[in-house]
Point group: D2
Chain length 457, copies 4
């Protein structure tokens, strides 16, 4: 059994930390310590208690003890792996990110990656990540660092910019959902049942705006099934994890009509939830208004919903932590533990993650953060060269990639002029006059100034 | 004296042909034949008559005889130089290009380069240029080919795509106007008088969206004078060829406020007329409405004005041709004859032209058509490596360059799906819903279908 | 069970065909037809008979029938896979390739890849491969093409140059031997036993001159064990498949002293047999004379030995074909069938093969044929981006890669001047005066003129 | 008149400093101060006295006063231009550089650029240049720095590596001699007389191993005249500055037979003296022995001759300084002052210099030091994109460029292992066994250890 230490920054998180703790309890061949670190120490303690109960279940396979670290360095020293999933700022800031632009006619379905919300979120996240990178260099320079926080590209870029020899990559599950969608396409068109891990997809681009250029299951070329599928389902929409109209009452569901529309126009399958995809494209296309979004079969997620949801999740967590509610173990479907085991030498996995472009992504600059398949094996992560995107899709990706690079470089230099240039160049801001763009940017900065000290001293 | 044959395709043109004929009459060290070819033969004959009178003036230095060719091949056989300045289609088509989008809220100040009008114009021009390239390969493969027609990038790309060994480049005078503007800046800020050919500028980017990163006259760094200049003139605007408010009654004038605004935000000086620059940027910035354009101190040029103007110019030309009005000789300020003399070995000139990127334009793909300085000398045109653009400006150029490449590749393959992708991706279309974009594209195609046979068979 | 048709060009071959037939008989999940094509029809028939016996053995798992095709097209029509292992020319030509240079002081241990012998062999092989590529385009454009013939890079390049959409790659087992060597290193230094497929290596470069930059087994960084290993074994040498002095009586054995010497000087492990490696380097280093080679613990393989060996193998084959000698089944250790099964969707494999550089090999030109890891899965081969080579090693590889590209381009154009430039630039020719280089080249061309008709018409 | 300060490091030099002082005295439009700095202060004083006499001549046009600086910083502070021409070490070291390799059969015609001598010279020069770069950053970061010292590429690279924003370039006159040679070719083949500045050449590659791909004078394509010229003169040789056999008694003369041989084989004209060219190529080609060199019509320059020559030049200098011998003014034919005047805004010049590759040199890595044409104008140096070299010539240049980059990176890190890798990879060392290469390297290091302290602490 391989003994490892895992540091979890943002160790009080509900979403990522709890699914990770479950998968970890079910993992064969590894054991050791998980050090939870969080600025919300009670949340970390709660997760520690839950983990303790999970590890005590009879189905638990691995042996892990959980500690709560009271400082970042304490968590990191001796770590073999570092996971990072934080909320930069609070929902108060996210409320501004998502909703302040609405008075200028800019609607965001998520608001954490690109668009005005993504820019502001990057502004408050990157300086924090610069600090993480310095701490990792200081405490555990050889550790593998798995980032889960959005905006993904900016976070990963900040880690590499600050500590170029860092062994970091960024994990996201959006591509997996599109793989699930393709399994549905296969089933609907041929009756054949497949699991997402049984199909091979060549996904490439940037995080939340990746595209599939090839997808195969046995003798099936899955992309070639799409035109027929779309004849049947384009109008009604189709959702891989529920009924087609689930988006009407589930803020995270969508009908895949954006994805199908893009496929028809560009010849490649955009591989993220429609709520994400829409934000990388001109505002007038899919997000001109809430009604436009609805006509494409997805909704805008209000931050108030996230807050309520969080309160609910916290209550559940507290109940699990206290033992008032029993904890249960089942695989989450995520890949984190699978990648971690592969890095430990227990498996070989090909999965899509975010890394600086070293040649794997044709058409994007070397050094930009790109998402492609990588081979994970004993102590190594090796990017796989992606098939070139169709020219039309590539142009859309290039535009966003250039904006992200401009944004990150400007943030790094605390250059508000460059940051505003990146803000105004967001596709979601396409309909904004320069005056309005400036007013909105200033407003959003003011709304979140508590988290923007690095820029306003 | 160097004896040469020049073929002029579009030899009935008023603007370019007539200024060229004047400069040619004044050129030292060269002589020979100019073969005018035009589908409007009377217009070519008229220019022949005017040229005959010009050459007969006492100030005429060179010896050139002018002929009217009745076929393209007749003009090209034996040619050392080929000039091309054509109007692809008629003003009827241009009227659709420029004004059809207005009912969708898209306003174009020129409409011949990018934006919806530029896309449609490229669709009807490129197939014609493919024919020119084949004729040049057949008749005069060693000739130098100077293109003057818009959309410049698409025309030059079509020539190289069809006949890769062609010796072609594209000439445009927009950068010269910005050099004039910089001379004004120098005079206003220091009292020093300079001529545009006395200053050195490093201009780079793509045609009509070039940017100056360096500009020097003697000990003066001209770009460093701009902040002070803008303090004085940003509000009122400033026009290099007339009073600041000339734009109010001159459709081709502008107050350079767009240029100054871009300089403030991106740190480099966009080097074309504001009417062109605005079309490369999101429609909401400078072209949201005629009023927005006016607030930035430029107007939208209606095609009806071009028609009236043309009628007037034709009457003038007829009068000159018939001898009813005397012809006069004065340098035009254009560079065509200067470049031509340099290629004949009579001079060495550095001037900005459009060529496939062979390394001269950092940040844009190799092979894309770019505009940078080149050294012109005896039989050679050698691109000069440009200083890298600031990241914000580069991102704007990259977006347009990718659109042009997508458009050209799709036109080459007569792929309407790809062409529409490029259409919808135009910055001027940024505010357009997908449905409206499709409707507009279809309408514009229908309006000009007489010229779009290659796509609709 | 997946039913496939495999065309085997050079289907009378003993080495590759026979190990392939054995592995194929042992393969699970596939079946169908193997069409053997060879200009030596009796040899193909003999292999057919042997295969028939192999398939009849009780251990045989798959169901394959073997046919002998009487024309190339007959073999190719309907093929899903095409394997090519041919001897370009005869041993008569190879005798000239290997031994003619000896009178000029150039000694070759193999003589089939680079050096004077490799150049001449490429000259007679490439035109044949151009024919294969045309036949594949004509008969089975979607087939996967596995090349086994040397010179590997030139063969694969000829396939892609002639039919750019071909799905071809080149397979070689030299890296596997170095993996075996690393298993020995591990065992000698730690006592731990591992199989080569259990270790992960990042090998990159060009065929027969690949280098390992990373090699891991469980927690062991295998390259870091090498300095200690070399302290013990550098003087005596070490052979992964037998005693250290086996090279003294086995023309294919070697003591790995070249490899260890290169590791000491360049910090990466050259990953091919020493007999191959030495030929990519200046002749004075390891091949100044037979004695120099011996001092590095390898021998020069005389072609006469290959001839005797062939006669022996033919007799064995005949005996097996006729049933005079029983046939037996055991895995060969090769990867061909494993890759083929992966392409059928029955496995996922990472293995090193030769492909045009699409970004996987930093420091070599795009389009050059490079050898790196690739992911093989259902219908797809995806190159993995290699870790950059140390600068010193990269310079050595670049030199040879440039020579190969020059050679291939010149052969394609039947340009003897360019071919001679590549000949004179071979590292093995480094000590040759220009006059001698020319004399030698002319002699070698004359010796093999029966196979060089494409150049001398 | 433009008033400038010029710092001359190595200001006691005879060759470069004295021709510079003459050209400077003849320069129109500039004046000011020249600060001579040299570790040999008396030599600097002598030059000061000579300069004083030169400026006093009636033909002197400019007004410059000469000072002798007693420290580097004193020379640099306030400088607008910095010229550097130093002898790294003494002739004692150069004697080892050039002659120590002879006992291993390696003959060098110059020994200051590549080959064993070039490597050792780079080892002692680069650390000095790192110091210069730091001093320039400290004292005059905006100054233009003109390097004249060999090895040119290593010196320029050291300046940019140490101070990336430096405005430095390297000047060399070898290309000019080849331009003179082409004027001779023109005269011999057509009777037409031309001066080298009247022809335009596209020269590219690396210093002392540049190649001309185009050369034009009026209607003449000069390279196309070479085949006819070579029919007449290849056997006898031809020298542009004297009779064909001048090399027999002049150590700096040569018969251009190397250049003609390379042209015949590679289709481009190598553009440096044959003595330099031969050193970039395998030792067996042109430098196998003194007799081989003689057969190609050039000699090996013994360092003893340089010493005698220096003594003679010093005596002459002393005589001029004291007034015992009159000083005279005539243009040197060098370009330094012409470039300097262009940078002052008084001229526009296209000339070949050495700069980091920013795209001007296709086929070599970005950042490597390359020699191509550049446009010199008011305050700007802009590289001109070179025509791609023929593949065979490019491969030869790439090999040397990779060696230089490896050498410079290794020197920068004081990594003797990497330096030795670059040493052994020199084409002139191609015939050397590894043992001999090591022995020679160690010997040469020991011979010059007084200057190699940075490596041996």
């Amino acid at each position: 059994m391989k003994i490892i230490k895992i540091a979890y920054i943002g160790g009080g998180s509900r979403l990522w930390a709890q699914s990770f703790m479950r998968d970890l309890a079910l993992a064969e061949g590894i054991g050791g310590e998980v050090a939870l670190y969080d600025i919300d120490i009670p949340a970390a303690r709660r997760n520690q208690q839950i983990a303790c109960r999970l590890q005590a279940l009879p189905q638990a396979v691995s042996r892990f003890t959980y500690t709560v670290a009271t400082s970042l360095d304490q968590a990191l020293i001796g770590a073999d792996f570092v996971l990072i999933s934080i909320l930069p700022g609070t929902f108060r800031e996210m409320d501004s990110d998502v909703h302040a632009p609405e008075s200028f006619g800019i609607y965001q379905s998520v608001g954490d990656t690109v668009g005005p919300g993504g820019v502001l979120r990057a502004m408050r996240t990157v300086p924090i990540y610069e600090g993480f990178a310095r701490a990792i260099r200081r405490c555990c320079p050889e550790a593998w660092v798995l980032n889960l926080t959005n905006p993904m590209s900016a976070c990963v870029k900040a880690l590499y910019d600050t500590f170029p020899r860092i062994k970091a990559f960024g994990c996201c599950h959006e591509v997996f959902h599109t793989q699930d969608f393709l399994c549905c396409v296969l089933r609907e068109m041929t009756g054949v049942q497949a699991q997402r891990r049984d199909i091979y997809t060549d996904a490439s681009g940037i995080n939340h705006f990746t595209w599939m250029t090839e997808a195969r299951y046995q003798e099936y070329d899955l992309l070639s099934l799409l035109p027929g599928f779309m004849e049947k389902y384009f109008e009604t929409g189709y959702y891989e994890h529920g009924p087609a109209d689930q988006w009407e009452h589930d803020y995270f569901a969508y009908g895949n009509r954006v994805k199908m529309d893009l496929f028809r126009r560009y010849g490649a399958l955009a591989a993220a939830g429609d709520r994400h995809l829409a934000e990388f494209l001109p505002g007038a296309w899919y997000l001109a208004s809430p009604e436009t979004a609805h006509s494409w079969h997805f909704s805008l997620t209000p931050v108030s919903y996230r807050e309520q949801n969080q309160a609910k999740k916290e209550a559940e967590a507290a109940a699990m932590a206290s033992g008032a509610v029993p904890v249960t173990l089942a695989p989450s479907g995520e890949e984190l533990v699978r990648l971690l085991r592969a890095l430990c030498g227990l498996d070989m996995v090909v999965s899509n993650v975010n890394l600086p472009n070293a040649g794997q992504m044709p058409g994007l600059p070397l050094g930009s953060i790109v998402e492609t398949n990588c081979v994970f094996t004993n102590g190594l992560v090796k990017p796989v060269v992606a098939k070139p995107l169709p020219a039309g899709a590539l142009a859309l990706v290039q535009r966003n990639c250039a904006n992200i690079d401009l944004l990150c470089d400007s943030i790094k230099q605390r250059d508000l002029n460059g940051i505003f240039a990146a803000f105004a160049a967001q596709p979601l801001c396409d309909g904004l006059s320069l005056r309005d763009a400036r007013t909105l940017f200033d407003t959003m900065c003011r709304n979140t100034e508590a988290c923007l000290a690095p820029y306003f001293h």
